[in-house]
Symmetry: D4
Subunit: 209 residues, 8 copies
């Protein structure tokens, strides 16, 4: 904290999304979210990337081994996105193709999510901050072994200057104003927040009378 605090605010014109190692094997290691919650959060982030037309970069680690392939939903969501299967680097930032793909977007704000939090998210997040990027960690689209490893990872990233976000916060900060597309954002939220859909159902039932 300092008196000259500057609100680094997500902008759809300056943000890119990095999805790191959401692979079918690795995801089964996640235990700090229920599997259903985690899947919903990751797909919500994917929908955000598409909705705001954010440049998105996918990367995986050893898809051919036990880590398993990128989950099919992400593959389908981003057919044309740069996809960097890393030959071995654990920190995606150590992979030149990955860094180049980011540079190629021209964006300075990086929205990062991945599995597992303390490695696949934290390592590139720290590297990116060091190189001057603004980093936004999507905490609920990133999973790990338990709450101890999660909180340790959050602390390390936050102390380095990363901003801890949720996918809902990311969506709202990018959208800025409902009037930019009421139906679009409403639909996105409705698909991923069951009680928001319930509110809409109740609302429509009444107004349709």
């Amino acid at each position: 904290m300092s008196d000259q605090f500057k609100y680094k605010r997500l902008s759809k014109d300056d943000a890119a999304v990095l999805l790191v190692d959401h692979q079918s094997g690795l995801i089964t290691l996640v235990q700090d979210f229920s599997p259903g919650e985690f899947k919903n959060n990751v797909l919500a982030l994917a929908d955000i990337a598409q909705f705001f037309k954010l440049p998105t970069i996918l990367t995986t680690s050893f898809e051919d081994g036990p880590n398993g392939p990128l989950v099919p939903e992400l593959k389908e969501a981003f057919p044309d996105a740069p996809f960097i299967p890393r030959p071995g680097q654990i920190n995606a930032w150590d992979n030149e193709d990955f860094r180049n793909a980011i540079k190629a977007t021209g964006r300075k704000q990086l929205i990062i999510a991945g599995v597992v939090t303390e490695v696949c998210v934290a390592f590139p997040a720290l590297s990116a901050i060091e190189e001057g990027y603004e980093v936004f960690v999507v905490t609920d689209a990133s999973g790990t072994f338990n709450e101890v490893t999660r909180h340790a990872a959050w602390n390390r990233m936050a102390e380095a200057g990363a901003q801890l976000m949720s996918w809902f916060g990311v969506a709202c900060e990018l959208h800025r104003d409902w009037r930019n597309d009421i139906e679009g954002l409403g639909s996105l939220l409705s698909n991923h927040i069951p009680n928001y859909r319930n509110l809409i159902s109740s609302y429509l039932a009444k107004t349709s009378k």
Copy 2:
């Protein structure tokens, strides 16, 4: 417990499904499941009813008021099912149309889920047991205010002879043997258990090589 225990086993030829008050307003009262988990569980049960072609009966309480309409997914899933909007009875069993709809199925095993557990599920469950039905409560497709009310409701129903199930247990007990339809059940599970889908993704990735 007694020495002459008889395993009352769900049979797809003798079971019917009762979905009680899964309305958009009432569901927002549920706090003993995360909204995402609860939605998934209810829709899994609906898929089970369809997959096994179980007679299914829908009922609601005051759809036109704050309780809200039946959630649209259930409406769409069972377009031809008996649908009994109750004019006021809290215990659905007190509604003659509801009881008649059950009788019309000719089934003696009732799979019940609803909102909220201690009322919309427990009341008809107790009534049905009294009339000689075998009752199977789908605990994870039934929601309530908190864990205290849940456990009290479970105890009351179990003491009366209801069998506490999960939707996964219901599906497996009805299916009996994977060979009856491997792809069908696999698809149902894959749609509602993210980590089961992950297992399949990993498996397919390898076998496709």
Copy 3:
């Protein structure tokens, strides 16, 4: 459980309410509910007793000592109810005035709540069952030191035949049919379930347009 299960169902014509030792000092011992939740639950049960005009009996233990006086809200709610300050009996059932007050109601269904659960509720509950009363324990209007003592007390009472309820279940089972008094029950629920009030607020806002 047995095949000849009989649904013992609360009836407003056969039920009485026993409020045992909800005293200002004893309530501060309760740790298995947040203080706010517990207060709301107890007052909801009081409102139920009034709404359904159930005979209600109050009793306390050593109001003049550290246990403190009956909480003022209950005093005000039942100015004319039998009030039995026990001179020393821990199990209220051991107090002849208390038993006589119950007998005088002519009711055979007893709805019991109190502080603390394993003593002030469980002891009279077990005694009442032994004497042939049907006992309904309002689990969420009864508090104790922690979840261990709560679950042990629940088990003891349930094994003896007590039915574990929540105040919401009690209200709904007594009311039977919304048409008996829609506004009355709606108002009771609205006062004690904030999200139910929210549903109504949303509903009214729309219909008033």
Copy 4:
């Protein structure tokens, strides 16, 4: 932390209260507090604003849609307060009327609460800090989807310099000295902290003898 730490202390002469989007629909999305606890916390904050005569500003987002109207208790509590229904801005700070209402108070300390924490609270909090305001977040009168989103939001705001408070801390820091109004503060606390009321009941019972 630094050696020249300056205690930014709430002052009733320099603080204003911002209540952001406490709407009947949005509140049903809150899952990190029980509904009863959350309602009590919000109303306690409203009572604080009134008790200390703090300028209070209300704002909502799409009251006519599924978000629902401002909860009636807040409407009634602040009949003359500036009320800014935002036409679309998600960050209330992006609404000029809202900023002007704040400026018009002449206050530099902003006490903020709202639904949901990571958006309706965090966004204006960060904007306000950037503009030089001292920001105090009332954590327990602000709700969100779960503890993950809450802690991420807290971290983001705290790192920016917001002070995390509870409504009780706010009340006490504003009051400074019980002698300013013993009965007034005592009454406020008694209304919102059941065990404090219990202490008073026990106390009065004894002194009245």
Copy 5:
């Protein structure tokens, strides 16, 4: 549950206390209570045995090995009680000296606590029930590895007819009436329930004025 339920009520004239394997080594295995809570519960039960002059029997398993000696507080509390260091039997009931010590008391109600719950408590509890004793398990003076093993053990014992109690419930059921010894019971509770002591402190402070 049956209509002919008989309340088996603890009587100070018919109860004996069995303390099984509260040894310094074994207690460090307990993880379902905090160490401080557990120690307090065990010592409270010891105080109850002394206060009501209940015959008490101590037994240990391999004091000379890693299980460690009986905790010194229990040794001191019952200098003259039968103490049966078992040469090897895991179920204390398999030890003839232990059974004889119980028989010698002439009591038919057995209050049992020990470490660990599913073995040192459950085994003799089941054996005693089989032989016609009434068994009362002091759940909070019995510890085990985690909540899973605890709940499994509780279920096994309760299904066999054991009554699940807490030390507080035991004390109150034995005492029956405060007038039997107000100061004695008050002192016992005050020593083991900090908030009860607080109530007394507040009470005395006021009455002493």
Copy 6:
């Protein structure tokens, strides 16, 4: 519960162990234990079966598909045990080879563990009870999706007469007396209870001086 309670006690001469579907894929679905705890519990049960020379039967479901192979530790532990890969039956009891393998042991006490609890454990447990076997469920060597499904499954099995055990309780009930093999049991416990090993380490350190 009844007065004629008979303690059905595990006997190493009458018990057999059934390990149902501990497959590498299915185990990744388990979320009601941490992966490390669960692995330890399953291997402890395997060690028990070996230590007491209990007939042990292994079965799996679709090892060649996503469910994955039996975990290698179990394969190695029981090289000569009957191993029944089921062609499709979900309830292992529906497989004639499985039933025959059990019959061939001549044992009437069945110790069952598996994945997932409400299906792979509960279904054969209920079938076995119906056929007159005594069933002992090893709750902590059986895993499932969450605590809701676990507790529902426990209730269903316990109501049918299954006894809920932990692996530690199973070991101790089978062993009866430490003198049967002090080193053997000590070693088994030491390998699976880290704090028991710690007790031994501390003990040896002192006695070796």
Copy 7:
């Protein structure tokens, strides 16, 4: 964090202890610790103050009202300590006598604990830091309403530069070296950490052979 980090380490020659509002009424408001744990922690801190002969200052707020008197154990532990019953100031630092008592100790390190954390601890902690004192908050001897208020209070104090400690950490940091008084510290720990006492019991049992 900065490269020139200076370890502010507690010294028994430079530390004073402030015990703020540990009153019998206020303590019953504490819900973020079990009452037994909290009492033990507070008394452990008192023993530390005595053991290290730290100047200790006691203060209370309205002992004559519902807040209740200082708990008797603290009164007895510090018969000669400065005791400042505040006439009304909520922040003890606003009381001149309190500040003077601190100044009179000549100490610059302040160890603070109290009830409730976000007010009675946080307010004087922030004031003290502003005046240049080094502040050490004893988190486990300070209690509040719930974990939300606790974590908000911790954050506010930590951001201001307070060091968050436990009583055990305080004791060890003050003691520096066991050789300064092995028996003294061992006895203090043994009295407040039951499992440490168990370790000693086991140790002595063996060495005494």
Copy 8:
């Protein structure tokens, strides 16, 4: 956080491991991890130290007393490592031999784990930071009494500049690239993450066909 953030990244050429007081007695005090989880985490860290050939230093406090000996697994893992049994210093850094052993490694990055977190880890961590070392705390190989003491200790260390890690993060950050030794790291992870082993088992089963 600052704009000139420098990612202090673990390097196998610059890191040393300090294992502080993992003694058989002290470990039984740990209650913020299950004993099985904790043992696994500590041994994983030991394996990391060996795998990366990191200089490792062991130290203990009073092995001959109740604290117990260093756990045998660590003794065996590091037969030639400097081992400093401290004669009395609580903060290992106060022991000259310990500091000299660290200096002798020539390393500037210190990976620290120990029991208990707020003392045996935090004290040397703070001392080391003050002397200019980079400190990495292995949070999940460090244990303490409960979550309150853990979080207070984490906060104190993080504010001082320590980086909070998990053993998994440490392993991955040191390894940098899987290609450095795929089998080696895979084997290490497989031994300590059961679900990772499961992934490998499933993978091998398929590829071996």
